[in-house]
Structure formats: C-alpha cells, structure tokens
C-alpha cells in the first residue's frame, strides 16, 4: 500500500501552526516514514496536487483566495482546518468590527482601492471541512494525535470539554480564585491548559465548548467576585467571528 499523501496550505495567518508541525522535531522523521508530504510551501519547493489530506491554515480575507481554496477541496479526500484563523477566523476577525472600506482607507489612504480585502472568514464559509485542529497555535501533540487517527481511519479527538478539566489534572492553582479572569471554564480543551500552567489566563484560542454551561460558569465567577463581563472581554480576541457572518 502506498503511503498517504499529505499537503499543507496557508491563507491569511502567521504560519505559526505550520511551524508547530516543523517543531515536532522528535517525531518528524517518524512522520515522514508514514506519510509523504507533497506540498508545504513554507518548507519545500515541490508542489504536487495529488494528495489525500490537505491541512489548511489561515483565514479567507479576499475573493481571490476562494478559487485556490476550492481547488484544494477538489484535490483532497479530506480537508482539515488547522488553527484558529482557519477554523474560526481567530485574531483576523477582530477587524471585522470595522467596515472594510474604512479599514482600507485608514491603512492605505488614497491608494486604498489598489488593495483587495473583505471580512476575515473561516475556511468553512467557502468549502466543506472534514475536521478541525483548534488553537492559536495548534498544539503539536494534538496535531500528531489527529494525523494518527486519520491514518487508521478513526475520527480525530474533538476535546469537547473545558480547559479547566486539563488544568485540574495538572494541579494548577485556579486563576479565578486569585481574581484573574480566565476563559478556561467555557473554552474547548486539548491544549493541556498550557496558558494557566504558565500563570497566564486562557484567552479562548480554541473556541467555545459546544455546550458551555454559562449559568454554572456565572455562579462560579460570582463566587470569586468576578462577572461574566470580566472574562467576556477576552471573547473578542479569538471568538469575534459571528456565525451569521458566514454567508454574508
């Protein structure tokens, strides 16, 4: 049996998620034994359009991005969105709060019409996506777990539980108890609670858990003298893209 062929693509992003793949230094050679990487512009010149799995990083911010993304979809058996920019527009969507034309005028002044840009959107507003690896950036282990699952034909883990669950397993002091607003209770886990482990609050880069228990979250916040507003200012760092914008 020939090895599965995987490819990496990027749109508007920092390429930090692809760098996380290159940062799997201990596993990279083993990974190359299991799959053929046939496109990875950040790291290689060869560009083969015959592949099984496409990992796509970055948001869609221009109409000219769409045909390229559709071409990727047509070529791939599976498309996996990697990172917050690709899966939920992430940090790119902060600017959606401002009209595009206004933003361009501020940026490029009277030469604004030379630059094309629309709202920042996740890739699933343009194509069907088969899976997501969330996070800003993606977690290396999470990436490897996902590849492993896809190679044996299993569904990748979706970590649909709050960051707090992993934070407790790491025996961290809860930041809420010391009065630091933290999005852990409503943010999807799978990151080993890395931010709180290093003394910093979760800022929601993996998106919300599917059934965030807002009521119980409120009660817990109240117990610690915090309000939902205290943590909701973090909501707009990664989670400002609204579902209703999807087909706008």
């Amino acid at each position: 049996m020939s090895k599965p062929r995987i490819a990496f693509f990027d749109f508007s992003c920092c390429e930090g998620c692809q760098l996380q793949v290159l940062n799997c230094e201990d596993e990279l050679l083993d990974l190359l034994a299991l799959v053929d990487i046939v496109q990875f512009r950040e790291a290689m010149t060869e560009a083969d359009w015959n592949f099984d799995i496409a990992f796509v990083e970055g948001s869609i911010t221009r109409e000219q991005d769409e045909p390229r993304l559709k071409k990727i979809r047509e070529a791939a058996k599976l498309v996996i969105a990697i990172g917050a920019c690709s899966g939920m527009a992430g940090i790119n969507a902060i600017r959606n709060a401002m009209p595009v034309d206004k933003a361009k005028e501020i940026v490029y002044g009277n030469k604004k019409d030379a630059f094309e840009s629309t709202f920042a959107r996740p890739i699933d507003t343009v194509i069907k996506v088969d899976g997501y690896i969330p996070g800003c950036p993606i977690d290396r282990k999470d990436f490897l777990r996902t590849v492993q699952a896809l190679l044996v034909g299993k569904k990748p883990p979706d970590h649909d539980y709050p960051v707090c669950q992993e934070c407790r397993l790491r025996e961290n002091e809860c930041l809420l108890t010391v009065g630091i607003p933290c999005m852990g209770p409503i943010t999807r886990g799978g990151c080993d609670a890395i931010e709180p482990t290093f003394g910093s609050p979760c800022i929601g880069c993996r998106g919300l858990v599917s059934e965030a228990n807002i009521e119980s979250c409120k009660q817990m916040l109240e117990k610690h003298g915090l309000t939902i507003e205290d943590i909701s200012k973090y909501m707009t760092i990664f989670n400002s893209f609204q579902k209703e914008e999807k087909h706008a």
């Binding site: 290689m44 940090i91 790119n92 600017r95 401002m98 973090y234």
Partner: protein, 431 residues
C-alpha cells in the same frame, strides 16, 4: 542571448506569500522585482481599543517564526509608553528568550530554507535519506532553540509568560541549568554546522548599500539584540523613540507591505547589517568563525546574510551559556511586577532574527491603546531586495531561465523574508 520571462508565484521556503517577476528584452532588463502579495492583516487596527495587557497576545500573532521578538518589541514599547523600567532579572531572562529564538530561527533558515538550494534539492525532505546525519543535527539544533523558549516562556509560538514588567511565571532554575548544559553539549553540532557552511560557496553579487541595526548605547560592550540605539552604516544614530525618522514608511500599490527608505535609496536590515555595523562587539568565538567562513566586515554580498546567521548562531550560543550563568548565580527571585497604567506614547526596538523591529503604541490614562504601529524587518528590506535584483540580473542574463530564476529565489531566501509579518497597517487613528 536568450530573453527571460520569469514569474515565480508564491516563492517557496520563505515565510508568507511573495512573487518574483523578471523580464528581459534583447538583453536589457525590463523588470526584476520582488512583490509582496500577502493578504493585508490589519494588526494595528486590531490593537486600537485594546487594554495594555492584551496587546502582546495580539501582536505576537503577527508572526509564528519571530513571535518572541514581536512580544519583546511590544513589551518594550508598552513599558516606554507607561514609563515602566523592568528589573535586571527580567531583562536578562528576556535576552535569553530572544537568543533562544535567534538560535531556532537561524538554524531553521540556514538548514531548512537556504541549504537545500546549495545541495541541489527542493527541500530538506530528500536529505532525510541522503544526508540523514545533517537532518538529525539540524532538527536537534532547532529543537534546542524551541526548548529554551519552552523553559522560559511556555512555548515558542506564541510565548505565554512574557508580560509587561516581568513574567507570569519564572523559570525553574534546575530547568535553566539543564538548558545551559544542552547548549554546551550542542557546541560540537554548531561546529559541524560551521564546517558544512564553510564548504558552501554563495553566489557572487556586490552592491554597497546602507545597513541599519541596533548599535550600542553609551559605550556598551554587548553585541546588541535587545537594547541599544538605532544606527546607520552611513553614520547617524537615533533613540528608538525616533524610529520613524529611520524607516519613513510609504505606500506602494504593488505591495501590501509598505516601503522604507533612510539616507540611501534603500537599506538592509538583518544578520549581515548587524554583522557589518557591530563586528567589533562579536564574541571572539564568533569572530573566529567569521574568519573561517571568510566573512569580513563590511561585506556587501547579500547572499552572505545566511553566513552572517551562522556567525551569529555561534555568538548567541556562547552568550547564552554566560547569560544563564549570570541569572543562576544571582538566583531567580519572585518580583513584584505590578504597575499602574498611564497615558503616553512609546516605542521599542529589538533585533529579531531577520533584522530590526519597531513597535510603538499610544495609550490613554486607562491603558487603552489609541494608536499602534509595527515596522517589520522584511518591510524595511523590500526596497533593498529590489535594488539587489536590478544589480544582479544584468550580471547573469546569459544564463538559462532556470538558473536565473534559482539565483533570484536564492537571493530572496537569503534575506529570510517574513512576509506575513510585513503586511500591516500604520496610522490608525480613532477620533
């Protein structure tokens, strides 16, 4: 003589999206240029209205490769704006973090992005079977850089513990000691890297240009990465707060990045600019390596940026050993890193792997950002790359289309461009 019509759409083995266009007609160069075609990302707009403690977490996302550099330039700008002076311990630990990033980025560039051209392959992947020892060494050295970041800031992309006026969590001294031991153990691998690059002959190109980098403040003896004034090889220096007089950014519709200019028609930033401007401040171990690589300051061949990175990697490795010694000897202490936000404008200038980086913010009295500006190394290099291409093409015009294309791509790669970084916006003003 064959005419060339080259359009490299999305140059590979660089960070971000850029194109190279080259056209000649009857042996005359009509066009030889590098265009930034990355989608605009509007980071400075995203900062406006955000609180002082949120800014760093937003701007590190400008770039995955130099995330720590962006974080540090950002913190320095915020601290300058609010008149905060971080402790010596904070500064020393930050220098270690920056060195870790320089190591990881320089080895990523020299081995993974630049070396395949010299070894005649399209990427590092075929080398995994043909030159396995080289690839294993490259991965080991890159990992060392990453592990330095993980020990102090949680992860390299995107750093967690770096905060205004200190750290959200201090590193464990034992872990820092272990990192130091690994740096010492890596010295033979670094030596082998030098040996590998000493066998490589970079393409010829000679073009004198202006070199801009940090330089020492007040007779400081340190090769500056984290601290210093901005200096030009044409003889002028500025405080970081006057960075706009250095870069003079302007809009060109061909590029989503802006273009910069100081005294000469274009200027260069990065490892070779630092090497040329601050050669005397390099550690003796690094000077010895420069000699071995036949690199003398000033050097006017931009293909040597890669070689200057090798020299810097050696400097940084030895410097890391000393810096960690200093921190551990003094002992890592919990410090009070509280501060009061206040109104003000400030700038930070830091040497990131690809060159000098400026961040500047204006805060109101509640510490809410009113205006933000980030000037990226690659933005500053775009004009210089284009001038280099215009000088290069007439000297290679008789070569085949493939050779010309490869030499142009190698030139661009030498600059180690970070293109997603370079697209940003300036002058956001909210009334």
């Amino acid at each position: 003589m064959p005419d060339h019509d080259i359009h490299v759409h999305y140059v590979t083995r660089v960070e971000g999206h850029g194109d190279i266009v080259c056209k000649t007609n009857n042996g005359v160069v009509e066009k030889a240029e590098f265009n930034v075609v990355e989608a605009p990302r509007f980071f400075e707009a995203a900062c406006v209205g955000r609180a002082h403690y949120e800014i760093k977490d937003i701007v590190t996302r400008i770039c995955g490769i130099c995330a720590c550099g962006h974080a540090l330039a950002s913190l320095r700008a915020s601290e300058a704006a609010m008149s905060i002076e971080p402790s010596e311990q904070t500064v020393d630990l930050r220098k270690i973090v920056l060195h870790g990033e320089t190591i990881q980025s320089h080895f990523l560039h020299t081995y993974f992005l630049a070396a395949p051209d010299f070894l005649g392959v399209g990427s590092v992947i075929p080398l995994a079977s043909s030159h396995k020892d080289v690839v294993v060494r490259a991965l080991k050295l890159k990992k060392l850089g990453n592990d330095i970041s993980e020990t102090i800031v949680g992860r390299h992309v995107h750093p967690i513990t770096l905060k205004i006026n200190g750290f959200s969590k201090l590193p464990d001294p034992a872990a820092l000691k272990a990192i130091q031991k690994r740096v010492i153990e890596a010295l033979p691998d670094i030596e082998a890297t030098v040996d590998l690059f000493s066998t490589i002959k970079v393409p010829e190109l000679y073009r004198e240009t202006e070199y801009i980098s940090l330089g020492p403040t007040n007779g400081d003896k340190e090769y500056p990465f984290y601290d210093g004034d901005i200096i030009s090889s044409l003889g002028q220096s500025y405080r970081p707060s006057n960075y706009q007089q250095v870069c003079n950014e302007e809009v060109d519709p061909k590029h989503t990045a802006k273009l910069c200019k100081h005294k000469a028609p274009s200027y260069q930033v990065g490892a070779l600019a630092r090497f040329n401007n601050n050669y005397n401040l390099l550690r003796p171990e690094a000077k010895k390596i420069a000699e071995k690589l036949n690199l003398k300051a000033p050097n006017h061949n931009p293909y040597n940026i890669t070689m200057a990175q090798v020299v810097e990697a050696v400097h940084v490795a030895y410097d890391l050993i000393d810096l960690i010694d200093k921190v551990l000897t003094k002992g890592i202490k919990e410090e009070n890193n509280k501060y009061q936000p206040k109104a003000g404008t400030g700038a930070g200038a830091v040497e990131v792997p690809r060159g000098i980086l400026f961040h500047s913010y204006k805060y109101d009295s509640n510490g809410i950002c009113q205006w933000a500006d980030c000037v990226i190394p690659t933005t500053q290099n775009v004009r210089n790359i284009n001038e280099d291409m215009k000088t290069l093409v007439p000297t290679i015009i008789g070569k085949s289309q493939e050779e010309v294309s490869l030499l142009l791509q190698m030139l661009l790669r030498a600059y180690d461009p970070c293109i997603s970084c370079s697209t940003h916006l300036i002058n956001v003003r909210f009334e």
